[in-house]
Subunit: 291 residues, 2 copies
């Protein structure tokens, strides 16, 4: 089952509601305009992971969209109520905590904000071991557009994910599991629901590299946490611009996200990518230690 808690000034701990019955207005701009922001957070063994990073990113997304959202304490209280409700009914090793804030019904002064907790999809867990095949798809934007055009909301995690979902469907139709978006000028961006990581060995030096945020991609909370842990473990960190050729030349490539965690890439556009079991094990241990 899914636990649902609305943020509501009349309920300091959040207002529990039944996720299986309708709770949202059809006039909410979250649905009529995809106008809102969200976060997907992993919940394992009583820990809501990287919650500070997720709340910080939710705030940045909301600010980018000129969307007023409640303060962190209201979110933390609602999350606590939601995971408690979830735990009471559903023992689950891994769950997804979703935070959603919409602009609310047109003409109203306040948005609609809620938290859901659901069991994590099985597929993501399988893919952490099996790895995935990805295809490269043009995102249509060049890698400098974010700086020029703030109204494109680059770097904000909005509810307008139709293109991300279409890209994933396109991959599946073509026999692949996932997508890495490329800018129109040939620079590696991100997955539709993930951040790209690659590793290089350089003698004894281990390098961990991710695309630069200047390309307009979403700042990955999991990438950020892995980078912190890898730096502490003596890795050298690097930031793109990366090209598809850089990925093909890497010792290993991953897609990382908060729920699926560290997923190794087996192939890109049908061409095998190196996998490095030792590096993968080391990074997986770091991911597992993220609080």
């Amino acid at each position: 089952m899914t636990a649902l808690v609305f943020l509501d000034p009349d309920y300091p701990a959040g207002r529990i509601a039944d996720a299986m019955t309708p709770q949202l207005s059809v006039l909410d701009q979250g649905v009529t305009r995809g106008d809102g922001v969200f976060e997907s957070v992993l919940y394992t063994r009583s820990v809501v992971r990287k919650i500070d990073a997720h709340l910080a990113r939710l705030r940045v997304s909301a600010d980018t969209c000129d969307l007023a959202i409640p303060g962190e304490e209201a979110w933390r209280a609602a999350i606590a109520t939601a995971v408690e409700t979830f735990d009471a009914s559903t023992p689950s090793e891994e769950a997804v905590v979703k935070l959603i804030a919409t602009r609310g019904t047109e003409g109203t002064a306040h948005g609609t904000c809620w938290v859901t907790v659901s069991a994590a999809p099985e597929l993501g867990r399988t893919q952490r071991d099996s790895g995935i095949s990805v295809i490269l798809l043009d995102r249509g934007y060049d890698s400098t557009v974010a700086e020029r055009s703030p109204w494109l909301l680059m770097g904000a995690k909005t509810l307008s994910y139709a293109v991300n979902m279409a890209a994933l469907r396109h991959a599946k139709k073509n026999g692949a599991d996932d997508v890495i978006f490329i800018s129109s000028d040939g620079i590696v961006l991100e997955g539709p629901t993930s951040t790209v990581l690659m590793a290089h060995r350089d003698g004894d030096v281990k390098r961990l590299i991710t695309p630069t945020l200047e390309t307009g991609i979403l700042p990955g909370t999991t990438q950020g946490a892995i980078f912190d842990a890898a730096k502490a473990a003596g890795w050298v960190l690097g930031y793109g611009p990366l090209t598809p050729e850089n990925l093909m030349d890497a010792e290993a490539v991953w897609l990382v996200s908060s729920v699926r965690l560290l997923t190794p890439v087996n192939s890109i556009d049908g061409v095998g990518v190196a996998r490095d079991a030792e590096l993968h094990a080391e990074l997986t241990a770091m991911v597992d230690s993220i609080g």
Copy 2:
């Protein structure tokens, strides 16, 4: 008030519901992913205007998104029930009929489809006479991306409108009423919720010109209907590519949409644009005659 009718196989005429109470699941992918399609249709004096064109475009949008939606008869029946419900409670000169189809709750085989009817916003009617100031904003895509990249859903009217809404907010913050999007290679595209039209006099010849659909813009139902009427009235029709300079050199520029109809542009980026009262009156009469 807003009338609300869900498409529902158990209710051949549609299922009437109360739009003022929650009717939608917070797990619906229409809100969690902006994953769905829509149409906004004008309802005046008992006529749901251009309904054939809107139903046809809804179908194209759904096909582009691999979204299965009910057949036209189900939509027509629900629309009829919705306008009847609306008329019984709310006398209104102009109303907006909204058709929405989402992908439904994750894991379910069927989407969620509904029709709402609400009074039309006053602002659009005022702007038909006063005209509007617009700014040009980069849409980030080049004008050839639609052909290359079907996963970008160009030409589909999806619920993922966060960027369109952000562009309108950006215009208002900068003292303008609306936006004309430009491609990254400098070609005129469309407004966030409208189609661009311009007119030229060439001796006795009147030319009506709109951007080519090859740029990936949405095919405008109102533009289409005006073009049919103008052709019948002896105008010469033309299709871009257009540049901003072409707009500045025109005898008149309009943004057209189903609800706001024909709205003259007074200025672009603060520079006055010609208005031609005679051409405007002629096209307005055509718009008013659209069934």
